[in-house]
Symmetry: C2
DNA sequence: CTATTTTCCTATTGCTATAGTATGAAAAGC
DNA sequence: GCTTTTCATACTATAGCAATAGGAAAATAG
């Protein structure tokens, strides 16, 4: 039941882009350095975000990435579902409607359904902007560091 | 973020034992047949439950397993944590207290902490007896089938 | 026009966990 | 002593994760 690095890194990338949004495009190299993540691996992850239109890219020198939309429009749930796939704890819930013919008599499916609902209600109610705010709270003094 | 078959099967085994509790010991072979699970694989799973004292075993002919305690004393959370290990979505929360020195400034850990709390609050509030009740509701007519 | 920077694309690799299968020993009952 | 059952352990196949690697394509700088 672990979230993979792909999903976690994707959230950190989006947060990093939000925190360093100066209007200019941000290079993978810079994000990788700040986040201590392999540059090449990060390329693959950000490419997923790019294909989904979550970030906007520019190639070539002085190129890079920036958020396609405002930080408050991205929930952690969106990002995790994009990069991790379904967050359902069992695959039988991945199809809508559920295909399994035992569904109506399955005693355990209600647990997994409740679990999925609980998971979604957490991650769909945290946006990248919330993380930015959290960052600014705990690191407010950073602004004054020379 | 999937729960493995080991954890899911363990829950089904406990439910199966609860549903077929006639006072006699129940063979792995019978559970395996009813649940459509490989006998040998089930042996390994039930062995975990046995070592933890969740079930009681008797060897030899006419041997088998039964629940060590009443169905209402087993939560799904107990069973999943036993068989799956920690259900924390990130490993940094597996240590108590958290070891990571970035903990206090980590913007994302609050998401994972909330997620873990949400997961726990679901699975710790469903007992095997709840699943028995659910079964009896949806299959009440079974009692009258010849 | 060329060199550099950066994204973009895809192949490969090492590792680990899962989901079993297989073999047989030990205990208990008939 | 034979059969039934749990108990213990070794093995295997597959898949996904977490990268690493190599280079093509696009854009800019000079």
């Amino acid at each position: 039941m672990k979230i993979s690095t792909r999903g976690r890194y994707a959230v950190r990338v989006m947060l990093d882009l939000a925190l360093h949004d100066t209007g200019e495009y941000i290079k993978v190299k810079d994000i990788a350095k700040r986040q201590s993540i392999s540059e090449k691996y990060l390329e693959q992850i950000i490419s997923i975000l790019n294909k989904a239109g979550y970030v906007h890219s520019v190639r070539g020198a002085q190129g890079g990435y920036r958020l396609a939309n405002k930080p408050e429009t991205y929930t952690v749930g969106m990002i995790l579902r994009l990069t991790e796939g379904s967050l359902s704890p069992v695959s039988c819930l991945d199809n809508d409607p559920v295909q399994c013919e035992r569904y109506s008599i399955c005693e355990t499916v209600m647990i997994w359904q409740r679990l999925l609902d609980a998971i979604n209600s957490v991650i769909d109610n945290v946006t990248i902007q919330d993380l930015v705010d959290k960052h600014n709270e705990s690191n407010a003094s950073d602004d004054y560091v020379i």
